[in-house]
């Protein structure tokens, strides 16, 4: 075995450990945070990372029929108030799981949480 061979053994071992480390770090990051995507009339207007470290905040989105007041708290998000007539979006309350969404039909505002969802779609 030459010195090059020995270095190669070392290199393979190091890259195995490095790749394991990088992959595990990535995985745990993915588990602990999701993206909330907010869109109006099909166009994304804002994305927010939802993780334990996300501070409580609220902001206003201009929907098709008026203002939609959105609140973020750690890993969850909701429509706190809305100027639509049925207010189904407000009644729906908090969402926090990937694949879940709040849809305000009159305002055409959609908040959806993206990430590895446990199902492909929901029949409802």
């Amino acid at each position: 075995m030459t010195r090059g061979d020995k270095l190669l053994v070392l290199l393979i071992m190091v890259s195995a450990i490095m790749s394991a480390y990088v992959l595990l770090c990535n995985r745990s990051n993915k588990d602990s945070s999701h993206q909330a995507v907010i869109s109006v009339e099909g166009l994304v207007v804002r994305t927010i990372t939802l993780s334990r470290e996300t501070p409580r905040q609220d902001f206003v989105i201009n929907g098709k029929v008026g203002k939609t007041d959105i609140e973020v708290q750690g890993r969850r998000i909701r429509v706190r108030d809305a100027h639509c007539n049925n207010r189904i979006c407000v009644r729906q309350g908090w969402i926090d799981k990937p694949g879940e969404s709040v849809i305000c039909m009159p305002g055409q505002v959609v908040i959806s949480i993206e990430g590895a969802a446990p199902v492909d779609a929901v029949t409802r």
């Binding site: 099909g42 007539n85 849809i103 039909m105 959609v110 446990p118 199902v119 779609a121 929901v122 029949t123």
Partner: protein, 353 residues
């Protein structure tokens, strides 16, 4: 010197491998639109992004076209009113047959056929009664029983004549109104599916506000896993069903409803009584054709559970899952093995029923 050449070649090999990894043969394209009073998502997989995008746009166009034909909401005189076959038919009810588009003929033929088969548990000519309840309005009220009785006389698929040879539809009594709210979405979804299929797409999911139609398998090569909504818990699922090349449609009492004196009044009316059905919280139909699934989910929702199961069992390759008002989950035996029920959902589930 050859050492350095080899190093360069090595780097090239690694670069090729990384490129091959990052650019798999398959890409995802998904798009969302508000259509038919709901939120529609189409997700497709394939190798050519431009082709995927074009196919999805065509599918949306097809859905919009069907939605316009079947729309019964627009005000008289508007462009939407003139575009709607259903509005034209309703306007000429009791006057004369109306020439309509071949899609309207297909939709109404199917609707009439299953209205008959379900003995009126599904009925496309129930517009007079739904208008009375006005669930789509801001302030729904319970109509007085006398006016419901009056309107029931102006409702029923038996007034509907579909003439395939002349492409005409005639509603034989004035005041009787078609309302395709329980079947147009399914038909539009099926037509969108056909567009995608014809353009060669072999992996896709159409989600039209919970009406699901799939092609092939999901990204992992497994059957699409479709969650079944818990009718009483927002965001909750009672379980999942696997759907490969098929459709899953649910009718539930939680979508448009109001409560008075502790009773729930929702938008799925029993065409035979004129009141909301009360045997079932939700009915999920799994079958190939989405138009059929939409119709049958309404019929099975309205029917008493035993009759709903009998209806589904009597049809070929139609699966049904019911969540009854007494919190029981029952389904056709053919669904066993394709569904997973969440044991902590709080509903009673006797396996093998």
């Amino acid at each position: 010197m050859t050492g350095w050449k080899a190093l360069l070649a090595c780097l090239l090999l690694v670069a090729v491998m990384v490129y091959a990894w990052k650019h798999p043969s398959e890409v995802e394209y998904s798009s969302q639109q508000f259509l038919m009073d709901t939120f529609v998502t189409v997700k497709v997989y394939g190798s050519d992004r431009g082709h995927l995008q074009q196919s999805v746009n065509e599918a949306f166009g097809e859905m919009r076209r069907i939605a316009e034909l079947a729309d019964h909401f627009p005000q008289a005189g508007t462009a939407a009113y003139r575009a709607s076959d259903v509005c034209a038919i309703n306007e000429k009810a009791g006057i004369r047959p109306v020439r309509v588009h071949s899609d309207t003929i297909t939709m109404l033929t199917l609707a009439r056929q299953y209205a008959e088969l379900s003995h009126g548990a599904f009925d496309p000519a129930i517009g007079a009664v739904t208008d009375l309840w006005n669930f789509s309005g801001d302030n729904p009220v319970i109509p007085v029983s006398e006016s419901i009785r009056q309107r029931l006389k102006l409702s029923g698929f038996r007034y509907l004549t579909v003439n395939r040879d002349n492409s005409t539809v005639y509603v034989r009594k004035k005041g009787v109104k078609l309302d395709l709210g329980a079947s147009a979405k399914g038909y539009a979804t099926e037509k969108a599916y056909q567009i995608l299929k014809r353009s060669g797409i072999d992996k896709a999911l159409i989600d039209a506000g919970g009406n699901i139609r799939t092609i092939g398998t999901n990204r992992e090569g497994k059957p699409w896993k479709i969650g079944i909504k818990d009718p009483r818990r927002e965001g909750g699922l009672i379980g999942t069903v696997s759907v490969e090349n098929g459709s899953a449609v649910t009718s539930g009492d939680y979508y448009r409803f109001f409560e008075r004196d502790g009773s729930r009044y929702h938008h799925i009316l029993d065409p035979r009584t004129g009141y909301p059905g009360n045997h079932t919280m939700s009915a999920t139909v799994v079958t190939q054709d989405s138009a059929l699934a939409d119709i049958l989910s309404t019929a099975c929702f309205v029917l008493p559970p035993s009759e709903a199961l009998a209806l589904a069992t009597g049809l070929k390759e139609v699966d049904l899952l019911l969540i009854t008002s007494d919190k029981k989950i029952i389904h056709t035996p053919t669904l066993t093995g394709r569904i997973e029920i969440n044991p902590n959902s709080g509903y009673r589930y006797d396996q093998g029923r």
